[in-house]
Symmetry: C2
Subunit: 176 residues, 2 copies
């Protein structure tokens, strides 16, 4: 059994579908200000590793926009809470280069640290379309014309950066 350290039940449910042998455990841990999700996740592991007996993992994700030098990146949650999708669209006004990607990083601790990632490439839409969580209404994944906000859960899951990171993690577990 492996603990998934998160306070977000939706993330847990998504992960449980892919890796059965997990349990949700909510222990708050500091997320540092850093340039990469990997650094944030590794610091989280360091903070938690002497506090938890069992194997555990945590996950962090963000939206990285090329034309904004990777903004909002590691701070995606905070930026969404403050300037939101309207702010992002305003910053992208007049920009032809609209490439962006969602990235998820999983850090797993079993005595040493293992990092897995999943990336979903795509671009920033010209306007909000559909509903959904966070940046979903403004992100169009490669291979689709719909935003995440316009997709069903099943359709969106095909592209999911978090799903890809979880699959990489699962593959590692199965190989052990």
């Amino acid at each position: 059994m492996i603990y998934f350290i998160t306070g977000n039940r939706h993330k847990y449910v998504e992960a449980k579908k892919i890796i059965d042998d997990i349990e949700m455990k909510h222990i708050p841990y500091p997320e540092i200000q850093a340039d990469s999700l990997e650094e944030v996740a590794k610091f989280g592991i360091d903070y938690l590793k002497n506090k938890i007996e069992a194997k555990f993992f945590l996950e962090d994700s963000g939206l990285f926009i090329d034309a904004l030098k990777g903004f909002p990146g590691v701070y995606s949650a905070y930026v969404f809470k403050t300037i939101g999708n309207d702010g992002i669209l305003k910053l992208m006004e007049g920009k032809k280069e609209r490439k962006a990607y969602f990235k998820a990083v999983i850090a797993y601790y079993d005595g040493s640290v293992h990092i897995f990632q999943g990336i979903c490439y795509g671009e920033i839409a010209m306007e909000k379309r559909g509903e959904g969580f966070g940046y979903d209404p403004i992100f169009v994944p490669e291979g689709s014309k719909k935003t995440f906000g316009e997709m069903s859960k099943e359709e969106k899951n095909k592209y999911s950066h978090r799903g890809k990171a979880l699959m990489a993690f699962k593959k590692f577990l199965n190989s052990q």
Copy 2:
């Protein structure tokens, strides 16, 4: 003697002018993602307190814009590096409410934690004016028509949030 934990020589020189009995010491410490500068500073103290023998302090500051729900706030340095002043001005396009403030927080550790703050109220200019560091060209302090970027160092120091926090800290030290 008190250590000022910073990698920024300019900040050290500014502080040394106000509080003579300090020395610069560069020890990197994690800055967490949090809603307030105080939380970031307190976490820094916690991280450092068993690593440093002498008394020490650290400082963190940010620009908080009312119309953007406090953005860029605690993440001011990162936001400057990515979307910069042009990004902030774009987000403020069409906004009549342009109030903002710079805030500096000093956390001092002498066996327990003491927090001091300095605030400089003002507003976001309609366009960049002058030179200077960071957000200086777009911030007009209350009581002036110039941006920080258009002021001499001496003139700017009169308004300085960091200077105010340092003065509060000095007052505390003198009272001991």
